[in-house]
Amino acid sequence: MLEQVLVAGFGGQGVLRIGQMIAYAGFAEGKEVTWAPSYGPEMRGGTANCSVVVSDEEIGAAQVLEANSIIVMNLPSLHKFESAVIPGGKLFVNSSIIKEKPARDDIEIFYIDAQEKAEELGNNRGANMVILGAYAKATGTVTLESLYDLVKQTFTGDKAKFVESNIACIKAGAEMV
C-alpha cells in the first residue's frame, strides 16, 4: 500500500491538522508515514498545504507531487491542485464554500458539505474533521477507530469536552461517502 495525499486550503481551516491526523493514525497502525508542510511565503494569506505519505514500505519522496488523493478546502486550492491527482485518484471537495465543479472526468470526486454538516452537529470549527472522516472511509488509508483514538488522546483534561463533537464530525463525514 502506498497512499500519497495532499491537503490544501486557507490557513486556519485546519488543513495541516487533517494531514497530521492521517499521519498519526497511520503511525499508530504500524505503517511508515511522512508529513511535510508547505512552509513557504504562500502560508500568509494564500493557501496552506501539506503532503502525507502512508506506506507499508520505506517512503521515498515526502513531498507529494502526484497524489492518489487530494483534499481541497477552498477554491484557490482546487485550481492549484486539481491537476495533481493521478488518473483514477480521489478528490475531496469542501462543497460548503467551493461552488465550482472540477474539470477532471478521469478521477473520483466527492463533494462534502463539510462546514454545513459541522454546524449542524454544533461544532462550527469541525469542517476539517468531517472531510477527514469522508477521506478515511472512502480510501481506507486509516481506520475511523484510529482517528477516534487520536481525538481522545489530543483533547484531554479540560479540553476533553471537545472529544465527542469531533468524533461526531468524523463519523458524519464517513457517512457522507
Binding site: V33, T34, A36, G40, G60, A61, A62
Partner: protein, 353 residues
C-alpha cells in the same frame, strides 16, 4: 525510548540533548526555527545552558568559548547564518575546539528564500572560512538519521577536536517522520586540553588559541589538522548504495533529492530498467570508494541536486572519467520531481541527453 512522530528540526535538538549537549548558542532563522525553539524550551528543563545570541557571529564565538572550556556545545542556523559563522568555525579548527554545527539549508544566494535548497554544499564541504582546512560534514535524509547523526557528530567532534557540520535541507528539518531518539549511555571522553581550570597544576596552563606566529609552528598545526582528517576519512566515511553493481544508470543524491531518487528506482524497476543509487551520508570526506563498485558497463552517472550543480564536482573526482557524468538539478527551492528525473535518466540511457 519509544518511536514517535517528530519534525527533523525537533529530532536534531532532542538527540543533541540525549547526547549530553551542555550548551546551545544560536540565533533564530527559518527553516530551522523549531530547533532553537525546542532548545529554548528543553535545555533549561534539563539543567543545561540555552542562550539566544545577538547575532550568528556572536553565537559562533560563544561556541568557541564554551567548547574551549570543555563543554559539549552545539549551534544551529540556516544558510545565510552559516555564512556569518564561518569566521568562528575556522578559528575553532585552528584552536582545535570540538563543536556540532547544524545547517538546515534554505534557498540562496543572498537572503534568498526559506524553501529547501542544497546550494550550501561548497560552503559546508570545502572549509567555508579562511585557511587550509576541511571539517567533517554529514547529510541526513530522514528524521531518524537526523537524530543518529547528531549523536555521532558529538563523538567525532570530541575525538578529533574539530567542529563537525550537519547539513540538512529545509524539508528534512520541516517534515515529520517516526523517530526513536537514541538513548546515549556512553560518557563523553575526558578533555585534558580544556581551559577549564581543572586539568593542570598550579603554574601550568592550557592554551586555546587560533594564532600561531612562527612558520614552523603553524606548519605543524596544519599537519596535525590534515592528519586528523586523514584518520577520520579512514574510519567514518558513510554512504548508502543500492543496486550499483549491475546498474546501467547510477543516480547520486543526498538529503531530500535522494528520497525522490528512491521513487525513481522503483519506477525503473517496474519498467525493467537497471538504475542504482549512491547516497552520500558523509559529504566530506566524500565516499569515493562507493564509485569503485559501479558496474563497469554502466552508461552514465547522474548527480541529482537541489542546486545548480555543486556535489557533481566530487562525483566527477570520484568517477575519474570512467563514466560520463550528467547533471539534473532544480533550484530556487523547487522540488526534484521523480518523474522528471526518470525521464531525463531514460534520455541519457538512450543517448539523447
Amino acid at each position: 525510548m519509544a518511536k514517535k512522530l517528530m519534525k527533523g528540526n525537533e529530532a536534531l535538538a532532542a538527540a543533541a540533548i540525549a547526547a549530553g549537549a551542555t550548551h546551545f548558542f544560536g540565533y533564530p532563522i527559518t527553516p530551522q526555527s523549531e530547533l532553537i525553539e525546542y532548545m529554548a524550551r528543553e535545555m533549561p528543563k534539563a539543567g543545561r545552558c540555552f542562550l539566544q545570541a545577538e547575532s550568528e557571529v556572536a553565537a559562533s564565538y560563544m561556541v568557541y568559548g564554551a567548547g574551549g572550556a570543555g563543554a559539549r556545545v552545539i549551534t544551529s542556523t540556516s544558510s545565510p547564518g552559516l555564512a556569518l559563522k564561518q569566521e568562528g568555525l575556522t578559528y575553532m579548527v585552528a584552536a582545535q575546539i570540538p563543536a556540532v554545527v547544524i545547517d538546515v539549508s534554505r534557498g540562496g544566494p543572498g537572503l534568498g528564500n526559506i524553501l529547501p535548497q542544497q546550494s550550501d554544499y561548497f560552503m559546508c564541504t570545502r572549509g567555508g572560512g579562511n585557511g587550509d582546512y576541511f571539517h567533517p560534514c554529514f547529510a541526513p535524509a530522514s528524521v531518524q538519521e537526523c537524530a543518529d547523526l547528531v549523536v555521532e557528530a558529538f563523538d567525532v567532534a570530541d575525538k578529533y577536536r574539530m567542529p563537525v557540520l550537519i547539513l540538512a535541507d529545509g524539508l528534512i528539518g520541516q517534515m515529520m517522520e517516526p523517530v526513536e531518539i537514541p538513548e546515549v549511555t556512553k560518557k563523553p571522553i575526558d578533555k585534558p586540553w580544556a581551559a577549564d581550570g581543572g586539568h593542570v597544576k598550579r603554574g601550568e596552563h592550557n592554551r586555546i588559541n587560533a594564532m600561531v606566529l612562527p612558520a614552523d609552528g603553524l606548519e605543524e598545526l596544519n599537519h596535525v589538522i590534515q592528519a586528523k582528517l586523514a584518520d577520520y576519512a579512514a574510519n567514518y566515511v558513510r554512504y548508502e548504495a543500492i543496486g550499483i553493481e549491475d546498474a546501467d544508470i547510477v543516480l547520486v543524491a543526498y538529503g531530500t533529492p535522494s528520497r525522490a531518487c528512491k521513487n525513481v528506482l522503483k519506477k525503473a524497476q517496474a519498467d525493467g530498467l537497471k538504475f542504482g543509487l549512491i547516497r552520500p551520508i558523509s559529504l566530506y570526506p566524500f565516499p569515493k570508494e562507493a564509485f569503485d563498485k559501479i558496474n563497469p558497463n554502466c552508461k552514465a552517472v547522474i548527480s541529482v541536486e537541489q542546486s545548480c550543480g555543486q556535489m557533481i564536482e566530487d562525483v566527477r573526482l570520484s568517477v575519474l572519467g570512467k563514466f560520463p557524468v550528467k547533471f539534473f538539478g532544480r533550484t530556487g527551492g523547487n522540488p526534484i520531481i521523480p518523474e522528471a528525473v526518470y525521464n531525463y535518466a531514460k534520455e541519457v540511457l538512450g543517448g539523447k541527453a
